[in-house]
Structure formats: C-alpha cells, structure tokens
Amino acid sequence: MQHVGADARVRVNLCVNGESHAVWVEPRTLLCDALRDACGLTGTHVGCEHGVCGACTVLLDGVAVRSCLLFAVQASGAEVWTVEGLADLPQGPALQQAFHEHHALQCGFCTPGVLMSAAELLARNPEVPEEEVVDVLSGHLCRCTGYTSIVQAVQSAAATVRESRGGDTVEPRNSV
C-alpha cells in the first residue's frame, strides 16, 4: 500500500501527452496545479476549483475529467492528455480548425477544457446528435460565446472526423 505523509513530497511520474514528467508533489497537490506548475503546461486552466466550470478538464486514460478534483498522485501511472497535445489526437486538428472557423472561442479561457471534452465525445461517437453535444457541453461554463458557435464547431468537427474515419481514435476507457 502506498503511503505518503502529509508533509512529505513524493515523486510522481506523470505521463502527459505521451511524455513522461517526473515531478515532486505533496499528496494534496491538485492535478491541475501539477500540470501547470510542475510540468509547465499552462494550457489547462483553472476557473473554479470546485468541479463546475470545466476549464480544467483533461483526458485521463481517454476519459474527460476535472483536473481540479484529482490529486496529482492519483494520476501516477495513468495517461493524461491536455490541450497542448490536442493536435496529436486524431480528432484534434479537426476540432481546432472547426473552433477557429465557427468563432467558437473569444477569450479562450474555457476553450482548453471544452476542447478536451469534445475530443472525448468525438472519439466515442462521431455520429453524435446535437442534443448530446449540448449535453456534454453543459459541463462547461463559457461566458463569452453564448455556446451556439461551440455547438456548431463540435458538430462540424464531428462531420470531418466521420469523413476521415478509418484512422484510429482514442478509445475511451474507464480508469480505476
């Protein structure tokens, strides 16, 4: 059984976007903080630290989760994917392009989290109906866009992914 004392620091191997980062953290260090401060990956944003806003959403073993509600120690051994690695996912470039074309971002603060949720969604089901897109996006607050353009962008990226299907997508797995 792993045990880390409250005041101790522990070395954690975080695998982020396919790269391994050996970082020293406290047990209480949130994954979002470890990504931003220890790994230097500031693309993942922090907007509420209580799980509602969605800005901090990353993929953990292919599944979209709040990185503000996970401790960095918990991600040891898992595969974390952040917006910095989005372009390397099969559905990533289509999403980036669609967000650009549909003006689905303004300040861009919510965007990394939104993109990661969308990435999971398209990996799971590029046939996704509009209601499901809206439902998945309801896990994100955006105060700039009014959402319509985001919904459109995700649908348009889904169409692109459908067209180019045959390439491999990230399999959603449930992590334990």
């Binding site: 059984m1 792993q2 045990h3 880390v4 004392g5 409250a6 005041d7 406290e26 047990p27 209480r28 949130l30 903080d33 630290e49 209580h50 799980g51 969605g54 959403t57 599944v63 979209a64 989760v65 709040r66 503000c68 509600l69 996970l70 401790f71 120690v73 918990q74 949720s117 439902d135 998945v136 309801s138 896990g139 449930n174 334990v176």
Partner: protein, 297 residues
C-alpha cells in the same frame, strides 16, 4: 482554494483498505471519485488527517447479475452504470435518473458508492436505489453486514456507515418487467442538484388499478423520503384527475422542506406535490403500456 495537507494511503486491494480504515477510519476519509469530497477539501469545508484512496481497488469495480439481483461494485463509475445496456433494459428507472447527475465529466469519475455514502438528500442515486429496495453491503476488517437503504440513510448527509467500514457494494433486486417507472426532477439548470426529485415504481392490474406502488421524494427532507401514505392512497386506484388532486395535496402536506436560496419551503412543498403527480402519471402510463393497455391519461 487549496486543500489542507493530509496523509495519503493508496491500498492496492480490499484487505489493505480495510486495514487502513481500521487504523485511520475515525480521522480519515475514503476517497472514491472525489467529485463531492474534493470540492469540500478545496474549500476547506473538510480537512481530514488522512485520505484512503480506494481507486486502486479494481475488485470493487463491477456490475454482476445473479439470482434476481444486480450487484453494483461501489467503485463503479456513474457513467459506466449509465451506459450499460443491461442496466438500461432492466433498470429503466436508473437509466432515466443517471443523466441528471452532474455532467458527463463528473459522472466519468464519480462512483455509485460515493454517491450513496455522500447521501445528499437531493441526489438521484440514493433516491432511486432506495426506491428499488437496494441494499448496502458494508465491509470492515470485522466482517460484512447488509443494510437496506431504507434504513441506511439517517439524516442529512449521514448514513449508518461505521468509521471502519467501507461500502463495497449496492445490490438491487431486479424488478418485474411489467413495472412502470418514472424519475422526474426539477432543477434550475442542466446538471444542478435537484430542488425536488421523485422516483416512482408501480404496477397495474388488468383493471388498470395500481399495485406495488413505490413513491419517494428527494430534496424535502434530510434523506430520500418514502411517501407511505401516498403509496397507500394510490394502491388499488386508477390514475385520474381527482386522484391527482388528492395526491398533490397529500404529498404537499406530508413533507417539511427547508427553504434555501433556490426556493422557499412553501415552494418546495408545492413542487413536491406537482412532481409526485408527474412521476406517478408517467409511471402509470408506462405500466399500462407495458401491459399493452392503451392509456389516455
């Protein structure tokens, strides 16, 4: 908003977890999906001396079907339950309720066990699992006991779970296939905790009279509230306008909600009545449909 420090234990199996709980259970907390616990830690509303992270307990992540029961391992993610085709088929009440829990991103992580132990009085899973006559399986180093959810929830966010116990499973009897069901919820936005939610299960006989009625309402008490009088009122009756009016009044009269920022006590009382009627109507219609009876209510 950063949590206070804590000792971190990550047991690799149930035995280790139970040993850790026996030793630290009273000043520690179990960490499952973290979707309720970690916000409280971040806000420093809770500052346990240690956390026992059970996410390594793969043996608690299962859906098992046996002899009339569905066994749900405590670590089963809410999302897994939601997407499971057999659950959808055999437990349409759960399938209807699960999408109301938070958002996909929180259900990806949040567990069934965590939701049951957290015991938020508006939470969908405690309400529905109790409606389905679920049983909590509690395990400690001393052994195992089973507590029907009817007596597991004690009061506001408090359960019968001992400090050295782990909820390892929730088991639910598989309902009759001709049962009607409904889960209705009133919340302000998608994904919010409910102001009021209602679970209803019932069957109808060949005269369209209701039998085996189960009606529970959440959000109006410290625990999911079974509405025994209302169940009685409905039993043996056919659904219709006058019964609806009677039910609405009875439900409103039998709850004592507390006001909060989203609604007065009076409003929630009224809402409980309205939502109960909507749930019963829906469940009734489905029961009739399942019996192949056209229903015009």
């Amino acid at each position: 908003m950063k949590p206070s420090s804590f000792d971190y234990y990550r047991p690799d199996n149930l035995e280790e977890a139970l040993a850790a709980l026996a030793e630290h259970g009273s000043d520690g907390k179990v960490l499952a999906g973290g979707q309720s616990l970690v916000p409280m830690l971040n806000m420093r509303l809770s500052a346990p001396a240690c956390l026992i992270d059970i996410n390594g307990l793969t043996e608690l992540n299962y859906l098992r079907w046996s002899e009339g029961w569905l066994h749900i391992g405590a670590l089963t993610r809410q999302r897994v339950l939601e997407l499971d085709p057999h659950v959808r088929q055999r437990f349409p009440l759960l399938a209807e309720a699960l999408p109301w829990i938070g958002h996909v991103q929180t259900r990806n992580r949040g567990t069934v066990g965590g939701s049951v132990v957290h015991a938020d009085p508006t939470a969908e899973l405690p309400l529905c699992l109790q409606a389905l006559a679920g049983v909590a399986v509690l395990t400690s180093a001393q052994g195992q006991r089973e507590v029907p959810l009817d007596s597991f929830f004690l009061t506001y966010m408090t359960t019968d779970l001992g400090p050295d116990e782990l909820l390892t499973e929730v088991k639910v009897p598989i309902p009759a296939t001709h049962q009607g069901w409904a889960f209705v919820e009133f919340s302000q936005r998608r994904g919010d905790f409910a102001l009021v939610d209602v679970a209803c299960l019932l069957q109808t006989d060949h005269h369209g009279r209701m039998t085996d009625v189960r009606l529970l309402v959440g959000g109006v008490d410290g625990v999911p509230l079974p509405l025994a009088e209302a169940e009685q009122l409905l039993t043996g009756e056919c659904w219709g306008a006058s019964l609806q009016a009677e039910l609405q009044q009875l439900v409103a009269a039998s709850v004592e909600p507390e006001a909060d920022v989203h609604g007065s006590a009076e409003y929630k009382r009224h809402l409980a009545g309205v939502m109960a009627c909507r749930a019963v109507q829906q469940a009734y219609r489905r029961a009739q449909d399942r019996r192949g009876v056209a229903c015009n209510t």
